[in-house]
Amino acid sequence: MSEQVIEMTSRPGVQADELPLNLKIGMAVVIAWVLLAVLAPWVTPADPNALDLDNVLQPPGAAGLMGTDQVGRDVFTRVVFAARIDLWIGFAGVVLPLLIGVTAGLFSGYFGGAADALLMRVVDITLAFPFFVLVLAIVAALGPGVGNLIIALALVGWVSYARLVRAEVMVIRNAEYIQAVRTLGFNRFYILFRHVMPNAMAPVIVYAMTDMLLVILAGAGLGFIGLGVQPPTAEWGAMIADGQPYIEEAWWISLFPGLAAISFGIGLSLIGDGLARMLRVSN
């Protein structure tokens, strides 16, 4: 592990102390959220689903850092536990489409032919739908729940990765170093995964950060509509919806889950900008 780090950091341009500032801050924010989510039961004062009907709609202060909701649940505790669901949606909703899309884009861009033409049509067709509407319609058909939401995100999201990787591969496959390894007689799958893929990944990684922001917002949107995680489990979007009828007397129920989503989103956005600068990719 430490050897790997030394090798990484000794490469010119990627010195650890030269990491862009926004990347460092972004990583700190995201890591803090991951830790909060993992350690949720130990850093929160209450049970996220415990009702306390003597303490409903209490403002932030004595009754808790972020107050209590309409059935007396502690808002701070629920915001932290909700991170487990929202971060999971963000992670799975990006990694699955990324894996499918990168694989499809690699083969399509490198080998071309009829499969490539077909893939590009599928990409065009999927991108013709508004992202949120198609995800919404698929979840409406499959039924509510986080699992179905992630399936819908994978079905819709992979095309962007496929298009991105394909465009990169089309350029790389004609590069001199690829011609060189081809002349040396290496297996074409070896060339594809060992030489083409690593060079095609930079824009994918940068895009994945922006995509995760979109995915988390879409996930929270579906939670808000009631198609995401089912009650009483806490999720930022669903919590905002819970607070909507009480917005007049208890603004804190909706405010804090939104701030949580914003802070995590800012972290992702900073990482995206920092990576774009470090990897010299236009974002």
Partner: protein
């Protein structure tokens, strides 16, 4: 190559996309786990009622046959019939579309001028505090859940200050403008940053082009170079981006209509999902996709008209 030929080519490229859209919308009904008729009617429905519903939805026919029936109906403008409202889906869509259309145009009218100004400011003063401030506000705007912002603005401007109505569409053009102001602002705050970012990037990219140097050598003022040359060249990528953004704009309207109880397509979609009215969900998804395709086509044609290089 003539302009008419270019247009014709662009239109024929659309055919496979339209076909694919219809396949996906058709497949939505096939994705429902279990028997859609049973899910629509609920577990207490009689076997006869379920059989009648299966017959009505054509579920007993082979999938290909079902698709061809669906396709031939859609071509004739028949999007099926709503189960709960018992009227054609196309009629419901036409009834609800004006609200969403008004909202979308409103968002564009608000967002584009502001984005132009902010994008130009950020590019002109890049590296200064103006640029940094605009960038920070952009990040904030992009990360805010649009429905969260909508609820908070509702509380502040409608309930506390009483400036705007809490919900509804209003009467007459001015009434619509008044009622839809907060919904339009909610979506704009999300959309402006994306436009600003791209406009700034393309202005910065254009400002190092050779023609800028040539203009300076010719003794043109910086102001003239910026307004007559850089801005014109930078507007094209932004126009293209706009086509892409429309898809996101439509997605944004769905959820904002829900918060402000606007009787648009988004609310129709939401109620259909609650009532498991699959023909409406299917018809609306198709309509949303067709609308996006048409708008993208129009922006394509517009940029073709503006930029003589596109049709070459």
């Amino acid at each position: 190559m003539t302009r008419a030929y270019w247009l014709l080519q662009r239109l024929t490229q659309l055919l496979p996309v339209l076909l694919g859209i219809s396949v996906i919308c058709f497949a939505l009904l096939q994705m429902i786990p279990g028997d859609p008729a049973r899910i629509i009617l609920g577990s207490r429905a009689s076997p006869e009622a379920v059989a009648a519903m299966r017959d009505r939805l054509g579920l007993d026919q082979p999938a290909l046959q079902q698709y061809l029936t669906y396709m031939s109906k859609v071509i004739r403008g028949d999007f099926g019939e709503s189960i709960s409202y018992k009227v054609p889906v196309s009629k419901l869509i036409l009834e609800h579309a004006p609200v969403t259309g008004f909202l979308a145009v409103y968002v564009i009218a608000l967002a584009v001028p502001i984005a132009l100004i902010l994008g130009m400011l950020a590019a002109r003063y890049r590296g200064t505090w103006v640029d940094h401030l605009i960038r920070m506000l952009s990040v904030l705007g992009m990360t805010m859940p649009v429905f969260w912002l909508a609820i908070l603005m509702l509380r502040l401007f409608s309930i506390d200050l009483g400036w705007f109505p809490v919900s509804g569409y209003g009467q007459g053009f001015l009434g619509h403008l008044h009622h839809l102001f907060l919904p339009a602002v909610s979506i704009s705050i999300w959309m402006i940053p994306v436009l600003v970012r791209n406009l700034r990037a393309s202005i910065v990219q254009q400002s190092v082009a050779d023609y800028v140097l040539a203009g300076r050598a010719k003794g043109l003022t910086e102001r003239h170079i910026f307004t007559h040359h850089i801005l014109k060249n930078a507007s094209l990528p932004t126009l293209n981006l706009f086509g892409v953004l429309v898809a996101y704009l439509i997605g944004g309207t769905v959820i904002v209509e829900l918060v402000y109880a606007l009787p648009g397509l988004g609310l129709l979609m939401f109620n259909a999902i609650l009532g498991r009215d699959y023909p409406i969900i299917q018809g609306l998804t198709l309509f949303y996709a067709l609308a996006t395709v048409v708008i993208t086509l129009v922006t394509d044609i517009l940029s073709g008209l503006i930029d003589p290089r596109v049709k070459a």
